[in-house]
Every structure is written in C-alpha cells, then in structure tokens.
Symmetry: C2
Subunit: 476 residues, 2 copies
C-alpha cells in the first residue's frame, strides 16, 4: 500500500526516515544531484519556523530582515584567513564565461563577507550601533557525501543573523542570548529538546573566536547540530575595515556575532517524533491541527455529512481539513492522515450524531476520547497542548537516557556507539582529529555550560591535562 511505511524506525532508521519524508510529501530528491525539493507539507513547517522566528527572535531583539547578493567575489573570502581556509573546499563557483574578465564569483555558502562589505559603508558612529540584521535565504555547499533529505543537501534554506556591537561584553552576551533563543524555539515550537553549549576549537566556525551550538540527539544514537551562534569578535571587522567613531570621538573597531539555523531543524523534528505509522507533527507547527473524518453508514449518510461540514466550519481557527471523499473508506483515510502527521483525528459516525459527540484520536498516542460537541473547541486546545508537552517530555527522557560518562578510552569507544558521552578533554585539535580517526567518526558535539572540568582530570584520549568536559558522539 502506498500510504503505509515498509521500514521500521527501530530496525532501519535511515530507510524509515526517508520513507516518512517522501510519503508524508515533505520533500523529494531533485533530479539535480545533491539537491532536494521542499514540497508544500515540508515548506509549511519552514513557514511556521519563520513566523515564530520573526516574531519571537527578530522583533523581540530588534533585528531587522534584509537581503544580500547570492554571489560573492573570491577576494572577499580571502580577507579573513581562517574563514577562507575553512570554507573554500565546498564553494560552488560561477562559470568564467559568465563573469567575463572580472574575478571569480562564488554562490554564497554563508554571507559574512558580503554583508560586512556593506556594513563597512553603513557604520560610521556609535549611533549606528548595535546594528542587527538577519536574512532568510538559500545557501550552497557543494557536499560530496550522500544527500539526506533536510539533513544534507547542496542547497538549503536558512536564516543568518549578523550583529555588530560597540563592546565585546555586549557582543558576548548576545551571542549567548541567540543560542538560548534557539533552544527556546526548539522546545516551544518543535517540542525538541537540545543540548546547548560551546563547540571545541576543531568544530568552531571558520573565523570565529568561539561557536555556540544546539545539538539534538536522534533515536539511532547520532547527534544532529541544529543551530549555531558565533562570536566573531573583531576578526571580520578588522578584515573588512568596519570602524566607528565612539562617544569619545575616537575611532574604534566594533565586535560582531553571527548565528544561523536551517531547514535541517525540520529533519531533527521529523526523526525525533515520527513513528512507524508515519509523520508525527508537533501541534504548534502543524498547518492543519485536525482532520475530520465522517463515517458514513447507510441511511444516516446525509445527516452525518451535513453535521461534519458544520463542525469543520466551526473549527476554522484550527485550520481543520474535512475528508468527506466517498471513494475512500474511513480505514484508508485514518492510515492516510496518520502518515501525513495531522495531530488530531475527529471521527463522526451515526451513533456520535445521536449522542451529540465526536471521537478525538491523538496522533502520537492513538488514545481515543469521546467529546461532547459543546466541549469540542476547548478539548482540541487541551489535547494539542498536552500532545506538545508529551512529545517534548518523551524526547527529553530519551535525550537524558542517552547521556553517559566514560571512565576510560575503552568505555568511551563502547559508549559512543549510540550515546552522548561526556569526558574530560584537552581541547586540542590534533587530539580530536585522532579521536575521530581511531573511532571512525566520533566527533565532539558540545562543551556544556556550567560544567567545569574537575581539577587534575586527564584528557580521555591523550592523557594530557583536561581543559573542558565535552560530549562526544557520532553525528549526522
């Protein structure tokens, strides 16, 4: 059957995940290698993330949206040396026949350089600071690894925030604030718990002093980076000659951060919440909160159909769908809308009609409740809220149960098969390279906040003095 998954989450999560994305019509592999199509069901989730973001992050912190060019001159990348080193390999360039005698143009992999070129003209005095901008756009990174819907593709959609401040302390405070707002977005909108903290030197953004991250943890024991916030400090400001005249009438170099999250977040939510029946949408991002399925039996058909329409009409605020198609039976419809992830199913049959009630079925638990029509709205609100909280708590329980600590290297190797393993670490890039090579893929995920390493601890791998506690795991 086309509307049934043939793979199980607990047996073959990669295949299961792909089937959920494809069959719930969230996305499709494009004919262009490495790219994906965001279908309306998938785009609606992104739309809901954008709306939440514009309201609760941008507006709340005084950030304004703008749009900068897709093409970036090669020389811009080279101005900030670390940035250039870190990014160049993945960049897609335009054909020289197009650009003519001019310099090579990259398709943007991220926009620090082109934005800060403008910033250097716009910022003159302390009155222009803080400058807080964000753009919603597509970015391109010419990945060679296999494409995974939402998780890895050569083009993806994201937002990138770029702010400039007078002082380093203000800049640092806000760099932290944005990662905390991301954490909140994951919890409040997607019912997605994350670990929040810093990245190691090896994993930080090319050109940043440090990077903060939110990491979710998938059922197959791999972490998924969901958003980052970078303290760029004065690195780019110096490279792009951004200066301002202070209140002291002297020239100063300002401080910057940048922060981004992408359509990847959709993948994290899908993989976390969905089940073997298909997609489970966290209620707050669900475009349609409920599906109404009238059950037609014999004579009562017209009455049931009429009542179903009335109910659908009265529930407009939940953007409910009425599936009164006669060419499909109720069983097929139940399966279909479970696959598509609609949070609540409302059934109405002849007996319900007699009793002035409907049956509400929750997508995540399958629990049925008989609800008198007069209580319907209130009950829907209640169930949506309960479902959001339950999804979060279930995911949080899993995340907590996935945290581990390792006493020694042997245990570290064993546990990182499917856990987030906290260990003391020296912080050195070379040591981390070795860990990744020896374990065939284990990487540092996050240095948790407020969790200083015990004095005298040794690095789990090299045995040198440990500087930080770090969670390591396999990752997407």
């Amino acid at each position: 059957m086309a509307n049934v998954l043939t793979a199980k989450k607990e047996e073959n999560i990669a295949e299961w995940y792909q089937q959920v994305c494809l069959k719930a019509e969230l996305a499709e592999y494009a004919t262009v290698k490495g790219c994906m199509v965001l279908r309306p069901n998938g785009y609606a989730i992104w739309d809901s993330i954008q709306k939440y973001f514009d309201e609760n992050i941008n507006k709340a912190t005084g950030v304004r949206n703008a749009y900068f060019p897709l093409f970036i001159p090669e020389s811009f990348f080279n101005r900030e040396k670390e940035h250039a080193k870190g990014l160049k390999i993945e960049v897609a360039w335009l054909d020289k026949d197009v650009t003519g005698d001019g310099e090579r143009l990259a398709v943007r992999p991220t926009s620090e350089t082109i934005m800060y070129d403008s910033y250097s003209r716009w910022i003159r005095s302390y009155r222009d600071l803080p400058l807080k901008m964000n753009q919603w756009c597509n970015v391109v990174r010419w990945e060679t690894e296999a494409t995974k819907l939402f998780l890895r593709s050569r083009e993806f959609l994201w937002q990138e925030g770029h702010c400039v401040y007078e002082t380093k302390s203000e800049c640092e405070k806000e760099t932290l604030n944005y990662i905390q707002l991301y954490t909140k977005l994951c919890k409040e909108l997607l019912a997605l718990p994350v670990l929040t903290g810093k990245k190691t030197e090896k994993e930080k953004f090319a050109g940043a002093d440090y990077t903060m991250t939110i990491e979710s943890f998938m059922p197959d024991g791999k972490a998924l980076q969901c958003g980052t916030s970078h303290l760029l400090s004065q690195n780019f400001a110096k490279a792009f000659n951004i200066k301002y005249l202070g209140k002291d009438e002297k020239e100063h170099t300002p401080f910057q951060n940048s922060w981004g999250l992408s359509t990847r977040l959709i993948g994290a939510s899908v993989m976390t919440h969905s089940d073997n029946k298909g997609l489970v949408l966290p209620p707050r991002v669900a475009e349609n909160k409920a599906i109404i399925i009238p059950v037609f039996i014999g004579d009562s058909k017209d009455k049931v159909a009429k009542k179903a329409k009335e109910i659908a009409h009265s529930l407009k605020e939940f953007n409910v769908i009425l599936d009164d198609r006669e060419e499909y039976n109720p069983g097929w419809k139940f399966t279909e809308w479970e696959l598509k992830g609609i949070p609540l199913r409302i059934e109405l049959g002849p007996k319900d009609l007699e009793k002035d009630q409907v049956v509400i079925v929750r997508r995540d638990t399958g629990v049925k409740t008989f609800v008198p029509l007069k209580d319907l709205k209130r009950k829907i609100e209640f169930e949506l809220e309960a479902m959001h909280n339950d999804l979060y708590q279930k995911a949080e329980k899993f995340l907590k149960s996935s945290l581990a600590e390792a006493k020694d290297w042997k245990e570290f190797v064993k546990l990182t098969a499917n856990k987030l393993v906290k260990v003391p670490f020296c912080g050195e890039k070379d040591c981390e390279d070795d860990i990744k090579a020896k374990t065939e893929g284990v990487t540092s995920r996050v240095i948790p906040f407020d969790d200083a390493v015990k004095k005298g601890s040794k690095c789990i791998h090299c045995g040198k003095e440990a500087k930080v506690n770090v969670y390591f795991s396999r990752a997407y």
Copy 2:
C-alpha cells in the same frame, strides 16, 4: 546635507530616483557588479507584499508555497524549444569544475522546467488536479544593461506561481484571475494603478500561448511591467511528459499557467509616489505608520517627553517610532523622517500639551491638523486611509492623462516620447521589431481587454490589416 535630495523629480528623474532609494536606505548597489542589497527599509516593503500575497492570493485561491532547487540542468531548458530560445542568452552557469562530468547547471532564471520535472512525478490522476503551487525565491538573469535599483539587477527576489488544471477553460479563467489579483494587490496595497491586458506575440513569455501583464506608467513617460501571468497551455506538459488519468479512465495532458511578480514592484511604487523631499510610502506597506516628534522648549521638556512616551505606548498598533533624541533638533528630524517616507508625523510641543492635543502632518500633502488626544487613534486611521486613497487617485489621474491615441505614424512617434499611445496594430513580430528600431526603443506594452479593433483599421506602422488595439510606449 545628507538627509536632503539634491536632484528634482521633474528635472532629473533617474538621479532623483536613485537618491530616494539610497537615502531612504531602501537599497544599495552591491560591490558585485549588477547586484543590489535590499536594506531593511526596502525589505520591509517586500515583506508586506509577501504577507498580503500569502493571505489574499495564495490562501484565497488554494495555492501552497514550496521550494525547488536553484540549479537547473541544461537539458531541461532544451525540452521546450521556444522556452530555450527565449531564455538562454541571460543564463548564468556554474563552473564545470564544480559540476564535474555531469551536465551544465544553470542558476535559475525562472523555474518552469525544474518544477514541471517534479510535477510529472506527482500528477497521476484527476484527483491530483488542480495542482497549485507558488515559490518565493531569488532568480538570476545575467543582464548587460546598467543596473537600476529594484528595476534591473542580475539577481532579484520574486514569487512564481505554477498551476496545473484538467481543462483549458479552467486554466484560461485562472490565468486571467491571477492577473486581476495582481491588479488588485497594486491598488489595495501599493496605491498603484496599472493597465491590465495581454502582451503581443513579440513580448509574450518564451513557451507560452499568451501572456497577460500589468503595466504601470512612470512620471518620466515610461512604462514599467509589474507582473505577468502566462497561459502555458500544454506546451510544457508535453515537453515534460505530465499526464493524468481522467475520470474517463483515459490518459490526458493537463493545462498549465505560471505567474510572477518581483521586487520591481517596489521600484514602481517608489517612483510613482515619492517627491522631492524623499520617499512617500503608501500607508498600507509602511512598517511604521507614524513618527512622533516631541518639541522640547525650556522648562516643559520633561513633561513633553513623558507625554510623548505615553502617546507612543498607546499607539503600538501603528508601530509608531518615537524620536526623542536630544542631539538633533525638530527641524532636522522632520526632514529626516520625510526622507524616509513615514506616512504621518505627530508633533507634540508645550502648547499642545496644555491643550491636550497633537499636530498631525501628512507626508504626501504636508497638511497639518490639530487633533485632540482623545480622537488620536481614530484620526490616525482616518488619515492613513485618506492618504492611501489620495495617492491612488493622484496616480490614476496621471495614468489617465498619459493615455493617448495616434492617427498616423508621425503622431505616433511624437506621442510615444512620453505617452502610452493606443494604436491599431497588425500583431506581427517583424513589424514590432521595425517599430522599435525606427523609434529607438518604443515597445508594445499591453493589448487592453474588451477593446476590439475597429473593422477595417490598418496597422499604424505597416498598413496591413490591424488585428488588435495596442498601447505602445517607452519602457523600463
């Protein structure tokens, strides 16, 4: 002075327009040749167009947003021959070092081909129709002519709607409906009157049976195309093998349209409404409907400042700005916010405080009104509405006064210097090429609806039998 325009609209409109865009901080020329930066003040207008569009066009007609890849394989273009011919010259390609052995990839100039490749997999039966999708995205056309902010740049933002129907009549009806919805958007949101009708053979979209258009007319006597809707009929469906099983259980080829409008529309609005003091924003797209400027004189300063804050707080729904900076005097602020185009200025001085009133000044007319505080909200609503209507009527009067008819070729040449000139026309592409060459740039703009040519009329240029009445003019 930095916040004053040095060019006049009636003397040098090109320089004036550029100054308005730059000094009102709507946009900036990017360092990358041919590209522009959409600054927050400009992006806010686009954001407001998007919101109106999603609500009043997409939702109202059952269109859903999606997102398709930026890169399009060369072979896709070649499938629809007319399309390939019409578009190829302007396409930017990726470097072959990036794509490797694969075929050449274009940066999308428009998305018919890549979308319909997906459509061919998604459409199976009449149950899948109509299929109605839209995407908001960036597109690239490698123009060689000089860049003009919002009006011509190598990359711009737009929406492209792409629908598929069972029957030609449904498809045609909707192709017309979308151009009418565009007309309504221009009027209701941007206070922008347009001429609506069909394009000639020469000016239609490459691959369409016909194209409908909305054309605005600028104060310098040039038309500006603001949006188009194309009847693609079965041309692309055949090329991309889109088929569906009908209710009759036979295979059919469906019918398609596509329709788009871009950030160009912002340019049309700016050029139409703005004046020698700077930007005039139509109230409905203005992010901030009013600016409050307290006038501080002597002792009363604290009281005035306090009251101004109270008023600002009470007017949150209008997203008012309070400019209580002390380092600038009121005169400078008046000039500054007039330049930025805020629809209403609210002044509050010591005398107003005594009388429990404020002064409201309209950006478009400069008319001052004393308003008792208790009436303020109602008066703001009234003035915003009046301003919208006045802007539209003024622009409509100008558009009507710019319409002309020509008796003969000599008059045609003379009038097309700065008018939209209606003439009988043979409809032939060659004849239109000749007209453009002889007049150094006059092009056909629109075949008005419901305005059939008189029997026996001759083409204004070649003298053959006229098939249609057409408006010709110079154009952006």
